[in-house]
């Protein structure tokens, strides 16, 4: 199915958020996620089902003022 990860459209094979993240190369642990603008706690990723057209955001620590 087709989803958007950090603004880029991708074709993914999995349906659970945790699986899609691994599929997209997120092996590290230092990130936070949101699905369609709503925060998804790290413990909820394994039970969060993603559907066609969903928007996934993956963010990490960055410099800021």
């Amino acid at each position: 199915m087709r989803v958007t990860v950090n603004g880029k459209t991708r074709e993914v094979n999995n349906q659970l958020l945790s699986e899609i993240l691994v599929e997209c190369g997120y092996q590290q642990t230092c990130f936070a996620t949101a699905l369609n603008g709503v925060f998804v706690h790290r413990h909820q990723r394994e039970s969060t089902r993603v559907v066609q057209g969903d928007r996934i955001e993956v963010v990490t620590p960055n410099a800021g003022g």
């Binding site: 993240l21 190369g25 230092c30 990130f31 955001e57 963010v59 990490t60 620590p61 410099a63 003022g65």
Partner: protein, 260 residues
């Protein structure tokens, strides 16, 4: 010297430093150390799978042994800011959040209606909110009513280095909310600007670009720390009031009569 009290925690330093726009991670670390800051601001940004840039940055910040204050920079709605705050809480393991809701992309003027809405929701979810706001007294009152225990009025719009655009507004805020910590955030360009904010009775100053973009960030960080200390001392010392009438400082009593 009294300590800076923020949400039940005490700090000696009254400078909060941003971590963006430094020429290198080393220059950032040097500036943090030279400033003596105990609180630095950080943000969240997208990262591609397989990259470890965020983790590397986070390890650098952790090595500096400072308190982190994550921001919601770049958020244009309460909803965006709330989601960002929740992601920041998980990632940085802190309930502190510098709440920014921007209303206009050109002026970067805070959207105070969105700010108040986000502050109410985040306070209810037990965040400790540091709201980036204007000098508006009514907005400040509502932020405090929503549960905020700190106010962060701007000095001038973000990144302008103009100093304090509205001294009267900052003075009014100080005198209206005598016991609430006031941190002047944004628009500061020079140590004299920061010193002035402190002379007006602000409790601390938050700045970033003026240090990060200086030719020598560590030296500028030290200069800001000195300015902020000087301004704080001046406020506590009780400055004399200005007058339109000149007055000699040397007494004229018993001056010799030297007329010819």
């Amino acid at each position: 010297m009294t300590m800076l009290e923020l949400y039940g925690r005490s700090f000696e330093s009254r400078i909060l430093l941003g971590t963006a726009r430094y020429p290198s991670p080393d220059r950032l670390a040097e500036a943090v150390q030279a400033s003596g800051t105990e609180i630095v601001t950080v943000s969240l940004r997208r990262e591609a799978g397989g990259s470890h840039a965020g983790e590397k940055f986070w390890n650098l910040i952790k090595s500096l042994d400072v308190t982190v204050l994550p921001n919601t920079a770049g958020c244009y709605s309460a909803r965006e800011a709330i989601t960002t705050a929740k992601m920041a809480r998980e990632l940085f393991q802190t309930d502190w959040i510098k709440l920014e809701v921007i209303g206009d992309s050109e002026s970067l003027h805070p959207d105070t209606a969105g700010l108040m809405e986000a502050a109410r929701i985040l306070n209810a979810e037990e965040f400790k909110v540091f709201p980036y706001t204007t000098e508006d007294l009514v907005v400040a009152e509502k932020l405090l009513h929503a549960g905020c225990e700190v106010l962060m009025p701007w000095g001038a719009p973000i990144g302008t280095a103009r100093g304090l655009n509205n001294e009267y507004g900052l003075r009014a805020l100080r005198s209206r909310f005598e016991t609430t910590p006031v941190i002047v955030d944004a628009g500061i360009g020079l140590p004299s600007h920061a010193a002035r904010a402190m002379e007006l009775g602000s409790d601390a100053v938050l700045l970033n670009t003026a240090v990060a973009r200086a030719e020598d960030p560590a030296r500028m960080a030290e200069a800001f720390a000195e300015g902020i200390r000087a301004g704080r001392n001046a406020y506590l010392a009780g400055p004399m009031q200005p007058s339109d009438m000149p007055q000699t400082s040397t007494s004229l009593i018993d001056k010799a009569d030297l007329r010819e």
